[in-house]
């Protein structure tokens, strides 16, 4: 009897383990007969992972047909339209989602903002970034919204926006963006100084401080310090990235030839390193 009970419990355990979805890769064939919404969403996600956007859209249309109350379909549809560059359709889908479902407001508004940026509708995009951070203080929305405002020349709004982002997240990325647009040099310098105190490599922060210094000699000193710091890094870790950082410091002190040499050396070692490519193009473009 004990053994029978034992086998029964064992069987239960086996079944429960089988049910416990051990993360076996989701195969499309396994889902081929699926009709419930979550499985169809998984199917759409699997197609999306394989970059088969049209097939994923078919799966979502099936969700829509079988489960018309399933609002998430609009969010997923928006993502897919965005993937294939159909930004108007993406905006429409995200809008439908936001009208019907209040759960993922941050994500939907962040994504709709991106599509609106792609469509050139900066005002509506900014409204979406604002709506996103009202829902949740995410770094992405603050960062992208801040860049949008800076690129649009809306500097005063950018300062307020980025300051709010720094306050909410503490992101150094936002600190750097804020310091660049902060009109008060002493406040910008204070932001940078706080980061400089703990930074192990100071090149970028020193170059940034040089940009915001109101005193020319202090700015020059910062640029020289940036070069020294970059040279220390290159001596310690002569990576393509370190060479590129030093090139940026050389550019700041007018040593264009040295900068080009560093960037060419960096690109010989890392031909796909876009930051080095971009900086080299900028220097050479400036020279022309």
């Amino acid at each position: 009897m004990r053994i029978r009970i034992g086998w029964f419990v064992c069987a239960l355990l086996v079944v429960s383990e089988a049910d416990a979805h051990e993360g076996a890769p989701l195969t499309l064939s396994r889902l081929s007969d699926a009709t419930n919404a979550s499985t169809l969403f998984e199917r759409a996600e699997s197609y999306r992972n394989l970059s088969r956007v049209d097939d994923a859209l078919v799966a979502l249309e099936l969700v829509q047909a079988l489960h018309p109350d399933e609002t998430r379909v609009w969010l997923e549809r928006g993502r897919l339209e965005q993937d294939r560059g159909q930004h108007s359709a993406a905006v429409a889908a995200f809008t439908k989602y936001l009208e019907r479902d209040g759960r993922d407001v941050y994500g939907a508004r962040l994504l709709r903002a991106r599509s609106r940026v792609a469509l050139g509708d900066a005002v509506a995009a900014m409204a979406d970034y604002a709506g996103a951070v009202d829902a949740a203080p995410g770094v992405d929305a603050f960062y992208e919204g801040g860049r949008l405002l800076v690129n649009a020349g809306r500097r005063v709004e950018a300062v307020a926006w980025l300051a709010r982002g720094v306050e909410a997240t503490g992101s150094d990325l936002l600190v750097a963006e804020l310091a660049r647009v902060e009109p008060d040099p002493s406040r910008a310098k204070a932001l940078i100084d706080a980061r400089l105190r703990s930074a192990r490599v100071k090149t970028r922060w020193l170059l940034l401080r040089a940009e915001v210094q109101s005193d020319a000699s202090a700015a020059a000193a910062d640029r020289r310090a940036a070069v020294a710091d970059a040279e220390r890094l290159v001596a310690r870790r002569p990576t393509p990235l370190a060479l590129t950082e030093r090139a940026a410091a050389y550019v700041a002190v007018g040593r264009r030839k040295d900068a080009v040499a560093d960037l060419q050396r960096a690109l010989r070692r890392a031909p796909s390193f876009t930051r080095a490519q971009t900086l080299l193009e900028r220097i050479e473009g400036g020279a022309r």
Binding site: I3, V14, R79, A136, V139, F142, T203, R232, P240
Partner: protein, 705 residues
């Protein structure tokens, strides 16, 4: 995180504060050179008190919060770097956990310090099965007395959706004994992404962890727990979020932050980890799936330009390890021109990086507990090693040497390699885990690069004695251990040298009195009131089986055991007995023991070991908080008449901590030791004034090479 705490607190204010019991933890989170965070959760709202100090008996400092909560997070500040502290947690009027040798943390070394350390890498583990437990236990056995300082998880720690309960059952319960003294730095997987949102950093994953979003220990502040960086000694670690496509956007914040962070570190080593590896042909294909493709095409060029050394991922349920590679960003991936070193990187053939950007090794560690597998037979062109066996990865960093090994769940180290920077010489053996016996040979092993010859020396007293000079490339020398109490061994080449710790020399080789895996008598019905531990007890009608013994949540033939105790599925207690023979007295006994959950051991009717058992009666359960597979060293003084020359009997009681719970495991190896005599004819234990008999219990089976 704080929002979560408050929400739980408000929701539980009606609960009586005195009834709170620990639900999760305590566990160690963000640890810096001057601070550490201890987290625990209670089933009812209670006040928060944490006591800590330099020993379990001297928890002199106290932090309290009189408000009530169920999620308790306490940051201790003002600590010394690289220092061990013990702690206990609970409300002011009670201790819920801690105050013993098991509850401690070690603060991080100073950022940049070349302090040797080890980190453990696990991926795709969160299923709470025997396989996951075996992977964990194999790591603990392999680590022996030097468990990892840091635990990295590369995602999928709580299948299927990363719900709070799944986190509890499949992560915290499985690793509790590790998490209570080892800080964890995870990267989110797609399964955690089911219930947690990385865009807003909310959900059970983000509730569970306290991560360095503000550059608390090196790096650049990311402002989000979805991706972050941190330093431990001379290594800079970066955790990325590879699941959400929105975060992989080229113009997005994560990659902009990554570029900034990479430019801001001067650490000796750079280790980056995320869930979707850039290269895999396992249960996922990095040539066809967008998550892998984008991480490869967008992130790898940035990482390689910064001189990344090691890239760790999971997702694909397999172990894969690349050669030293560089520049392989194409889709589909090709090998031509991208393999910098096609060697195996194994000991004494390490990958040598003269420049930091000379290449990196990519590891797919998606084998931490889920069923392994792959679609098709094709191996990835960049991989040196592919294996479909569950396991985990242990990485040791010592100055300019990084050593990596894959430890399978059966305890086999199936892959090992090293990365060095230029000229390197590092002694890798013997260690304290080896038995050094006078007159016998032991392997002296080392890793070298850029060195022609090494001289092996030892020191038993004041001066170093030369043993021999051999080609460095050999990496190994069989050395005859001299007559001495202790020795140190070193390898030397010019100015480069590396030496062992002080190693004890044994007069005689240890004698295995009971080997692991041998036959035992066992019994699964009540013996309450019977003198079953005594040598004379008649156990002839008991069942017979070979260790390891186990019950687990898997099919019997999948269990990590030779005897599956099916009869004990419903029994809270299992009894074991084993006779063993002693021909002459020993100075010490070593018990290398694995048990799940509680255990008590008697030798010749005398109790010599007890763990997590308060009540010996058959129906009583082990401590519900106790878990298996911990590393512990307990020395128990026992009287000289414990053993007799001739037949002796070991009796063992093993208890589950839930009546219907499937978890039970037992095996033991007993070894007798005789210490070397010094000039006065005294043994080591006699010299130290300790009793003549000593039992050392190691709750781990030590794997011998």
């Amino acid at each position: 995180m704080r929002w979560f705490s408050r929400a739980l607190m408000l929701g539980c204010l009606v609960t009586a504060t005195t009834a709170a019991r620990p639900l999760r933890g305590p566990y160690i989170q963000l640890t810096t050179p001057s601070s550490a965070t201890v987290v625990w959760r209670t089933d009812g709202a209670s006040t928060t008190t944490l006591r800590y100090g330099s020993s379990p008996d001297a928890l002199d400092a106290t932090l309290t919060d009189s408000s009530t909560a169920t999620q308790h997070e306490v940051e201790i500040t003002g600590l010394q770097p690289d220092t061990k502290y013990y702690y206990a947690v609970g409300p002011a009027d009670a201790s819920l956990a801690g105050g013993d040798e098991d509850h401690f943390f070690v603060t991080a070394p100073e950022v940049g310090a070349a302090k040797p350390f080890t980190f453990w890498v696990v991926g795709d583990s969160g299923v709470a099965t025997a396989k996951q437990a075996r992977v964990r236990d194999a790591m603990l056995r392999e680590s022996g007395q030097s468990p990892p300082d840091v635990y990295l998880h590369v995602g999928d720690m709580a299948y299927s959706d990363g719900t709070d309960q799944e986190f509890q059952d499949r992560f915290f319960a499985m690793y509790q004994n590790i998490l209570r003294n080892t800080p964890t730095y995870p990267a989110i997987g797609n399964h955690e992404g089911g219930a947690s949102d990385s865009l807003t950093a909310t959900g059970p994953y983000y509730d569970a962890y306290v991560l360095p979003t503000q550059a608390q220990v090196g790096g650049v502040a990311s402002g989000t727990e979805a991706y972050y960086s941190w330093d431990w000694a001379n290594v800079h670690f970066i955790a990325l979020e590879s699941y959400r496509a929105e975060l992989r956007a080229t113009e997005g914040a994560m990659l902009a932050w990554l570029q900034m962070d990479l430019a801001s570190t001067d650490a000796d080593w750079l280790v980056v980890y995320f869930h979707h590896p850039p290269y895999t042909k396992g249960s996922h294909d990095s040539d066809t799936e967008i998550g892998h493709i984008e991480m490869r095409e967008r992130v790898m060029p940035m990482l390689e330009a910064a001189g990344v050394d090691l890239v760790l991922g999971g997702h694909s349920h397999i172990y894969e390890r690349s050669y030293l590679i560089k520049g392989a960003y194409d889709t589909p991936t090709t090998a031509e021109g991208h393999i910098v070193d096609s060697g195996d990187g194994e000991e004494n053939r390490p990958y040598v990086k003269t420049n930091p950007d000379d290449g990196n090794v990519c590891i797919v560690a998606g084998h931490g507990g889920t069923n392994v597998g792959r679609d098709g037979d094709e191996e990835h062109v960049l991989m040196h090693m592919t294996e479909l066996v569950n396991g985990s990865v242990i990485v040791s960093v010592d100055g300019d040497l990084m050593r990596v090994k894959n430890v399978r769940m059966d305890g086999v180290v199936s892959d090992a390699f090293s990365i060095t920077r230029g000229e390197t010489l590092a002694l890798t053996g013997p260690t304290a885990a080896d038995d050094l016996v006078e007159g016998s040979t032991v392997a002296v092993t080392w890793v070298s690069a850029g060195i022609d010859e090494v001289t092996i020396e030892y020191r038993a007293e004041d001066d170093w004695e030369r043993v021999t000079t051999v080609p460095a490339a050999s990496g190994r020398y069989e050395w005859t251990v001299p007559e001495a109490e202790t020795v140190r061994v070193r390898v030397v080449s010019g100015a480069a040298a590396d030496e062992s710790e002080t190693l004890e020399v044994l007069a005689e080789a240890p004698v295995r009195l009971i080997r692991s895996g041998v036959s035992w008598r066992y019994h699964v019905e009540s013996l309450d009131g019977e003198d079953w531990t005594s040598p004379g007890y008649r156990d002839g009608d008991w069942e017979r089986g070979q260790g390891p013994f186990s019950i687990c949540a898997c099919l019997p033939w999948e269990c990590a055991c030779r005897t599956y105790l099916l009869d004990a599925l419903l029994a809270p207690t299992v009894y074991f007995r084993k006779d063993f023979n002693v021909e002459a007295p020993f100075d010490r006994l070593t018990l290398e023991l694995v048990h799940e959950v509680g255990a008590k051991i008697w030798i010749n009717g005398r109790e010599v070991y007890a763990r997590s058992i308060d009540d010996d009666s058959f129906e009583a359960l082990a401590d519900p908080e106790a878990l298996a597979a911990e590393i512990r060293r307990v020395e128990i003084a026992v009287p000289e008449d414990l053993l007799v020359v001739g037949q002796n009997t070991m009796a063992v009681m093993v208890k589950k901590n839930a009546a219907l719970g499937p978890s039970l495991y037992f095996d033991v190896e007993v070894t007798g030791h005789r210490d070397a005599e010094d000039g006065c004819g005294c043994t080591a234990t006699e010299r130290s004034g300790s009793p003549g008999w000593l039992i050392v219990v190691l709750i781990a089976l030590r794997r011998r090479r």
